[in-house]
């Protein structure tokens, strides 16, 4: 995933509630809830961060090792890709 970034399709909309994000797929009519770490990943990824940048954010915000942060980021991104909520941009 190194150097790769992601985009959020125009039919996907999100809203934060007290630090947790709910994502809505407007075409399929489905919704997804993210926990705090997932929300951090979502915001970083929406802002064009690479996997390295996203992992760094998690490391700083949750005081976890780089390894754990990277695993968390990869897991969340894989799930978002699987659900069609993000697409690879480069």
């Amino acid at each position: 995933m190194s150097g790769k970034t992601w985009t959020v399709p125009s039919h996907v909309f999100s809203r934060d509630f007290e630090g947790e994000c709910v994502i809505l797929d407007l075409v399929r009519g489905e919704y997804f809830g993210l926990n705090a770490v997932g929300t951090t990943v979502w915001h970083a990824l929406s802002q064009g961060e690479t996997l390295e940048g996203i992992s760094e954010r998690i490391t700083k915000e949750y005081e976890v090792s780089e390894e754990v942060a990277r695993e968390d980021a990869e897991r969340v991104i894989a799930e978002l890709e699987k659900c069609g909520l993000v697409a690879t941009s480069t």
């Binding site: 039919h11 909309f13 809203r15 509630f17 007290e18 947790e20 994000c21 709910v22 809505l24 407007l26 075409v27 009519g29 919704y31 809830g33 993210l34």
Partner: protein
């Protein structure tokens, strides 16, 4: 005719929504049809021949009315609702979770009745009001027996029970309760975090336009705004009549917190 969504119970089609050109169409098979132009004009509700006035009136005042209002951006939820001097309380939950019975019970205890199964929720500044839409509760045999009330029996076997204390004015919504059953002896009430609450509320939105992403987004944003001001509480109790008074106590407790 293009059908876009349907509701079935045990394989039986109960309701469906679709489009016929520019027309939005809702059909209760064998009972009634509602058609409206996409701009909310040319509204036409027709009950099938032989359908009892009780059933057609319930559909017209309940879901059909909410579908029409939804075209104009109004928020309707599949929920019952009552009001006391503190404001309105709405009750959501899957079919059979006791929405109608709960509202009828609370109305019997002195609250005003606002809605049996469709709550019209209107934004007024930063508050959200429940507008009275229905003056009858539709109860099953067991509920009628336990609540010691009487009413006409409609085609679907439900008893239509007039609510003497039907509300006449809209009331500010204080709490949305999500009803459910559990095996625990004591009822449990837990305030839901907004993302959790969204999961319960989104499927309960009354929607006539199913194929326009912008409309869905508008509904989602509206719910989001409402959750900034209205707490959602998951209330689980044993499937037992003796647990209903505890819900009343919780309502009192939550309404006290909100005021």
């Amino acid at each position: 005719m293009r059908w876009l969504g349907e509701l079935r119970t045990e394989g039986k089609l109960l309701f469906r929504i679709g489009r016929e050109g520019d027309l939005l169409v809702a059909e209760w098979p064998g009972l009634a049809t509602l058609k409206a132009a996409r701009d909310g004009t040319a509204i036409r509700f027709e009950a099938e021949p032989g359908v009892s006035p009780i059933v057609s009136e319930k559909i017209r005042k309940g879901l059909a009315g909410a579908l029409v209002r939804s075209i104009h951006g109004e928020l309707g939820l599949h929920a019952s609702a009552v009001a006391n001097e503190e404001g309105a309380f709405a009750f959501l939950g899957p079919s059979g979770s006791g929405k109608s019975t709960t509202a009828a019970y609370l109305a019997n205890e002195g609250d005003s009745f606002l809605a049996d199964d469709i709550a019209w929720i209107r934004r007024v500044g930063v508050t959200w009001h429940v507008v009275p839409t229905e003056a009858h509760a539709f109860l099953d045999e067991a509920s009628v027996h336990e609540l010691r009330v009487a009413g006409d029996v409609s085609q679907d076997g439900k008893h239509r029970v007039a609510q003497g204390r039907a509300a006449r004015h809209e009331m500010p919504l204080r709490v949305l309760f999500v009803l459910g059953f559990s095996d625990h002896h004591e009822p449990v009430a837990r305030r839901l975090r907004p993302p959790e609450a969204m999961g319960y509320l989104i499927p309960q939105i009354v929607r006539f336009v199913l194929d326009e992403p912008a409309v869905f987004r508008g509904e989602f944003e509206k719910l989001g705004l409402m959750l900034e001001n209205v707490p959602v509480v998951l209330f689980l109790r044993r499937k037992d009549w003796t647990t209903l008074p505890s819900l009343r106590a919780w309502i009192r407790a939550f309404s006290g917190e909100q005021t």
